[in-house]
């Protein structure tokens, strides 16, 4: 193979790589692609939203043939699915690439806009204004520039073929606001990823009154629920649910405090939330040798017993004894489905039942009995004491290092939107030409089919005319003028 053919092949492969990169780049920069991606995201969000509603069921009830699809719909966790993650990734990359791609153009428009324009542009503009003066073009352009600057416009001029071309703009830096807005969207996603990767979240941290539970997640913390209280108003409606807790490290209290719904307790970067509450039972379990297997409180609620599915219940595996213990409390609402209540417990009573666990099977069949508060009972080799009823609290515990990112992103998002919408970049082009009587200037805004921008320009033209003592002639092409509604040239009175 000759040196020339190798070089040619290298050039060809490089050209191919360039084409591929260019196409991928263009795909991510494409507004049409971005709109389609947002539309797909919106569609997936809609599918996920309806999944949390009764709408799919209504569809299945109306059109039974759709039942299998509806079942799959309910089963599909959209927000944890691959297509959803994919579209979010695609959008994030598109935002980043598009932002990088647009940056030079936006900066060019801000820092080095083209000043020159054409008579065709001014003639065909949907709205424009003419000013005549009996002074040379340079002097008149200077007067126009001063008037525009007094309206906080930046004015640039350029001489071309004996004419003075003029460019004026206001709020040019607002074009940069698109960057913080789009950066904010990526930061919100990044905040979610940071929170998931380096934070933790306990949705249901059950803890009975007087009990201590280890928090885990490498925090070295133990949580003790000192008290749980419900506060009701005179009319019986709930005012507050409050947990008083003590946080301990190495057996030593490090912080005590209360939390209610909407008022979490913070320890460093860990936040404790009041989430729920319920009934608990304090019990003591000893084996035949007198060894204590359990001496704590058990939350009643997370478990559902077949003996009465309506009742608060709990289950605990006593591995050293080879049995599982179920505890069922009295029915809280006996009027509801009384046929399900096979136990008929009275207040102050609990039903204990042990069943064999594993291969050893110290008992052949489940054994159960009703026990009153303060009493003990023998079930198999175990002595169970129903010490007393208690309350338990359900906390949510979270550490989310993504929160600062989220807060910063929120500020950038709202700030970016506000600047983009309320301080739009206003631009005016014009040419000042020589006439037999002196000079004439024709100005027009860059405001194609932008009613507000045209209205702003027409007001600006009137203000400039008033300032210079010249009555401007407004020219309006289709569509109608913002101020006058006319389709002709008009000379407003000053």
């Amino acid at each position: 193979m000759t040196h020339a053919s190798v070089q040619q092949r290298t050039l060809q492969s490089r050209a191919l790589a360039d084409i591929v990169v260019d196409r991928i780049w263009r795909f991510f920069c494409s507004v049409r692609a971005a709109v389609v991606e947002i539309a797909i995201l919106a569609l997936l969000v809609l599918v996920g939203t309806l999944r949390g509603s009764s709408v799919p069921q209504a569809i299945a009830d109306t059109f039974p043939v759709t039942a299998p699809i509806v079942d799959r719909w309910y089963a599909w966790d959209v927000y944890r699915s691959l297509p959803f993650a994919g579209i979010l990734t695609l959008l994030s990359v598109a935002i980043a690439v598009c932002t990088i791609n647009r940056a030079p153009g936006i900066w060019q428009a801000i820092a080095h806009p083209s000043v020159g324009t054409t008579h065709g542009f001014l003639r065909n503009a949907e709205t424009s204004a003419s000013f005549a003066a009996s002074i040379p073009p340079h002097a008149f352009a200077g007067q126009l520039g001063t008037a525009l600057r007094s309206k906080r416009y930046r004015v640039l001029t350029e001489e071309r073929n004996g004419e003075v071309h003029l460019y004026a703009d206001r709020w040019r830096f607002s074009r940069l606001a698109t960057f913080p807005f789009h950066l904010a969207l990526i930061m919100i996603l990044a905040g979610g990823i940071v929170g998931a990767a380096w934070g933790f979240r306990e949705n249901e941290f059950y803890i009975p009154e007087g009990s201590v539970r280890e928090l885990g997640h490498g925090t070295g913390l133990h949580v003790r629920l000192d008290d749980f209280s419900e506060v009701y108003r005179e009319d019986g409606t709930a005012l507050a649910y409050r947990s008083d807790i003590t946080l301990m490290r190495d057996g030593q209290p490090v912080q005590s405090g209360s939390m209610t719904v909407n008022n979490p307790l913070t320890f460093g970067d860990i936040v404790f939330y009041q989430s729920g509450f319920g009934q608990a039972v304090a019990l003591k379990i000893e084996d035949s040798a007198g060894q204590v297997l359990f001496d704590d409180a058990l939350p009643l609620g997370p478990f559902q017993s077949r003996l009465n599915p309506d009742s608060p219940a709990a289950r605990i595996d006593l591995l050293p004894a080879g049995v599982a213990l179920s505890v069922v409390a009295p029915d809280e609402n006996p009027a509801n489905a009384p046929e399900l209540d096979t136990l008929q417990l009275r207040p102050g009573q609990m039903f204990f039942m042990i069943r064999p666990l594993g291969a050893d099977r110290p008992i052949a069949e489940p054994i159960g009995a009703t026990v009153s508060q303060g009493d003990s009972i023998q079930l198999g080799d175990l002595t169970l004491t129903f010490v007393r009823e208690r309350r338990f609290s359900v906390l949510q515990v979270a550490r989310n290092p993504g929160i600062p990112l989220f807060i910063a992103a929120s500020v950038l998002l709202i700030g970016g939107l506000a600047i983009t919408f309320y301080f739009p970049h206003r631009r005016v082009r014009g040419i000042v030409s020589t006439t037999t009587d002196g000079s004439v200037a024709r100005l027009a805004p860059i405001a194609r089919r932008d009613w507000s921008a045209k209205r702003v320009f027409e007001r600006l033209a009137l203000d400039i005319g008033r300032q210079l003592g010249i009555g401007p002639e407004l020219h309006v092409n289709e569509p109608a003028s913002a101020l006058t509604g006319s389709r002709q040239s008009v000379r407003p009175s000053l």
């Binding site: 969000v45 996920g48 939203t49 709408v55 209504a58 719904v261 909407n262 939330y273 939107l417 089919r449």
Partner: protein, 300 residues
């Protein structure tokens, strides 16, 4: 307190009547009036020919002004209604669908009248005011017990966040209603070239301006909702149906803004997106009837 609640309801009833009368006037103003002309011609043969001609003409400005006046009356009554209820409950009425919709009626009226003033367009009222009257009818159909002022449940006991979060939602929906009306009127004006309707460009711009208020407000709804969720539930996003419905709405308006600013979509295509986006607003607004989840307490 009961007296104040009753007064609040009476004011709402008065507002409903004012808005309904205003809506009728706005519709009459937008449609114009039919003028019938009868011409009688005598022929050489001694017979006469009678011809009838009907033409549509702009309505008198008086009826438009009267419509605006009635709308302001409606707003004034609704302000009084909200004020009485605020005093009775010791908080802004934002906690259930009765209160939310009452405040929506007020803000939709105010937002519409401000846009009418800024743009000098009365014909828009022919769509916005019937929408407001529809919302009043919905409020009348709600269970009577919702008219009572109830204490807030613990989950809603965050007055600053609830006030701003919910108020922003109402403001967003109100401005989106105006944008929807502008889109509908745009399509009508563009299709039938009715001389006394505002120029399509003006309507297109009006719809866009309404969205430039509503979209940041909707963004604030999502952000403040997230902040509140983090404070109350420990996570700023739960994929709760109401949250995601609001996100869906936000995304559709995002599509509208992108197609408009970056692809230069104006006119009919933009108007159609606004119609779809408003359908998403309605879906989010009434979603509580079909959603479960964490916002279920705000249902009815």
């Amino acid at each position: 307190m009961e007296t104040l609640v009753r007064l609040s309801f009476y004011c709402f009833a008065a507002a409903t009547i004012a808005f309904a009368a205003s809506a009728l006037c706005y519709v009459a103003y937008a449609i114009g009036r039919v003028r019938l002309r009868q011409t009688t011609l005598a022929t050489n043969a001694g017979t006469t020919m009678v011809s009838h001609e009907a033409s549509l003409e702009p309505a008198s400005l008086g009826i438009g002004r009267f419509a605006t006046l009635l709308a302001w009356f409606g707003v004034a009554f609704q302000v009084a209604s909200i004020l009485f209820r605020t005093v009775a409950g010791g908080r802004l009425p934002l906690s259930n669908m009765y209160e939310f919709s009452s405040t929506f009626v007020l803000l939709a009226g105010v937002v519409y009248l401000l846009f009418e003033r800024w743009y000098g367009v009365r014909q828009l009222g022919a769509i916005v005011l019937p929408l407001i009257v529809g919302m009043c009818a919905y409020i009348w159909l709600l269970p009577a017990e919702l008219r009572e002022v109830n204490a807030l449940i613990p989950a809603l006991q965050n007055r600053p966040l609830m006030t701003i979060h919910v108020s922003m939602a109402i403001l967003a929906y109100a401005t989106f209603a105006v944008a929807f009306a502008a889109a509908v009127l745009f399509l009508v004006a563009n299709r039938w070239q009715v001389a006394w309707l505002p120029s399509p460009d003006l309507l297109d711009d009006l719809g866009y301006r309404a969205v430039t208020i509503g979209f940041p407000a909707m963004s604030l709804v999502l952000i403040l909702g997230s902040v509140w969720a983090y404070r109350a539930w420990g996570t700023y996003w739960q994929w709760d149906p109401k949250e995601t419905a609001a996100l869906f709405t936000w995304l559709i308006y995002g599509v509208y803004l992108h197609t408009r600013s970056l692809r230069g979509w104006r006119g009919s295509r933009s108007a159609v997106i606004l119609l779809v986006a408003f359908a998403a607003v309605v879906f989010t607004y009434f979603g509580n009837y079909v959603f479960g989840g964490l916002h279920a307490y705000g249902g009815v």
